[in-house]
Symmetry: C2
Subunit: 342 residues, 2 copies
């Protein structure tokens, strides 16, 4: 949430979404792509995940202006097999590609029990949980994997190779918002290292290495040619590797170390791939899945876990829906100026 000394404005979801769509369209996005990215970005801001909210708009515009990503791309959906949807994002953003393949993937999951939605040639610049939550709202279980850009050193290695490579998961609940989590396989978000550098704080042990692959707690050393570590040592590293395999090798997308954007100054978005696995739990006879989840949630509460995965976002979402979405007034002014500029 914004720090309290900000001068905050509040804006409705629809107004923010419209404003963001105007900005993106004025800077080269097709109306379809602008609408999807604006909805995604406004949703993330509404839910309090500021690092991936309107804060990212300048990054979207820079990467679009660089010619690195095609913000007017029309995704190409291929019905690859009865349980396999493949989407070529055609060097566009990942969210329009997901939107293009989603209905077919849901149909396949309902018919077969499980389906793959494999996206390649795509740029993912947002949080991952908005990609999985809607499946759970349709009663489905979803897993998502996306690789990014080489900034994470494999456990025991010296050089960055993996992206922050998040994994997201969503499962429906009976009569409550879905259980949703989204976790980077890196020990820390890159943005948090930048904040530590600015504030002169040291990093915890095990978060990063310097340009020689040696452990460091100095954020400046990490940012100067160093890299993040994986979370949880060799286990997080194995999961990060799995994300490269699923999101890139399996989809036909680039590895996090496998693209060259040096000819596009201002480029910020990794051109990689994304994999979603969608499961229809209703096909297991005699097993009322959503009620089983309630049993699990109740047990987690009884064990002392006060907040369930995704719950903080739902609390912020309800506040935003009641009071409007909080944005620092200066930032809102900048956004309005961008919407007016050509």
């Amino acid at each position: 949430m914004p720090s309290p000394n900000h001068d905050l404005s509040h804006i409705s979801f629809d107004d923010l979404r419209g404003l963001l769509a105007s900005i993106l369209a004025r800077h080269g996005a097709s109306p379809q792509v602008a609408a999807i990215l604006a909805d995604n970005c406004a949703s993330v801001q509404r839910d309090g995940a500021e690092s991936h909210g309107t804060f990212r708009i300048p990054g979207y515009l820079a990467t679009m202006a660089s010619g690195w990503v095609d913000a007017a791309a029309v995704p190409l959906v291929t019905d690859a097999a009865p349980g396999f949807v493949s989407v070529d994002a055609r060097n566009g953003f990942a969210q329009p590609a997901l939107a293009a393949g989603r209905a077919l993937a849901v149909d396949k999951a309902r018919a077969n029990g499980i389906a793959l939605l494999a996206i390649h040639n795509s740029h993912h610049f947002s949080a991952l949980w908005p990609d999985v939550e809607p499946f759970a709202r349709d009663g489905l279980v979803a897993l998502a994997f996306v690789n990014s850009m080489a900034c994470v050193v494999p456990h025991g290695a010296r050089q960055a190779l993996f992206g922050t490579n998040p994994i997201a998961f969503a499962a429906p609940r009976a009569g409550a918002d879905p259980l949703v989590f989204d976790l980077a396989t890196s020990a820390m978000a890159h943005g948090d290292v930048q904040i530590a550098a600015r504030e002169g704080r040291l990093l915890p042990d095990g978060v990063g290495v310097d340009r020689h692959g040696q452990p460091t707690t100095a954020p400046a050393e990490l940012l100067d040619g160093g890299a993040l570590c994986t979370f949880g040592g060799h286990k997080g590293s194995a999961l990060a590797m799995m994300v490269e395999i699923l999101a890139a090798a399996l989809t036909g997308g680039n590895f996090s170390f496998g693209f060259d954007w040096s000819g596009h100054p201002g480029a910020q978005t990794p051109r990689t791939g994304q994999l979603l696995i969608v499961i229809d739990p209703s096909l297991q006879n005699g097993n009322n899945f959503a009620l089983r989840i309630e049993t699990l949630v109740e047990a987690m509460k009884q064990a002392g876990q006060e907040r369930q995965p995704g719950e903080r976002r739902y609390i912020q979402r309800a506040m935003s829906e009641r009071d409007g979405i909080p944005i620092p007034r200066a930032e809102l002014d900048r956004l309005r100026a961008l919407a007016a500029a050509t």
Copy 2:
């Protein structure tokens, strides 16, 4: 590997497998179940994963003698949907259930691109990687999830709820043994806590809590009504929860906290569930998957990662195939006595 001061015998894989099958059959397993468990256990011992090898035979016999598990169960395979195989292990071990449903799941994955193999009413008492490696040898990608018994406290909670809940993954390589990993979502294996207690060593920070849910580094406090933590804090906890959802809620199996074996003294095996996701990567057009994996492995080596996931097991396997499988002589004598006993 065994500590060098053991007096070691070496035994061939076939001899060890035959010996273990005799033991299991003499103590109540059907010939089919005995053969599958013996092959599994001998493979694990061959590959140097001693904690799940012949060391576990007394546990198998105790749990079988307690009446808690049916070692003569005949699994019931249901073709639930075009991409969904459901297996009721009928209170038997998980490995025979997997063997019963495996061929159908492979057929479905090859036809559809992806398939689910959901096992419930099952007991898993071995390592998880032997369940996924064979899929990768058939050119498929496999993910496996199994829940166990409440011994892990959710992040931020006070009481044990999750099992050690491992996740395993296997992917084929071109001209090399598959990439395979198998990671518990707990911070440490329960057996390693017992060893630390025996040797009078403290545990690292973050590994466990005492019976009041307070962090402890004393193994005795953990073992006396305490619990393990998840690896990687809230991230490992989210993954452990996901394993409960996939392996139990989705399959129709018990949660790790959802069974009562108090009426069966000697019972050691969790009666839960297991989920496998099997993917045929060849359905992505124009993407030579196994060659992409080689590119990734080469990059991991170049980055300084000397050993790839699974490699240590393959090295031990090759040694065992050359020299025989190393087992302490006293243990081999005990096994032979068990095979002779009725």
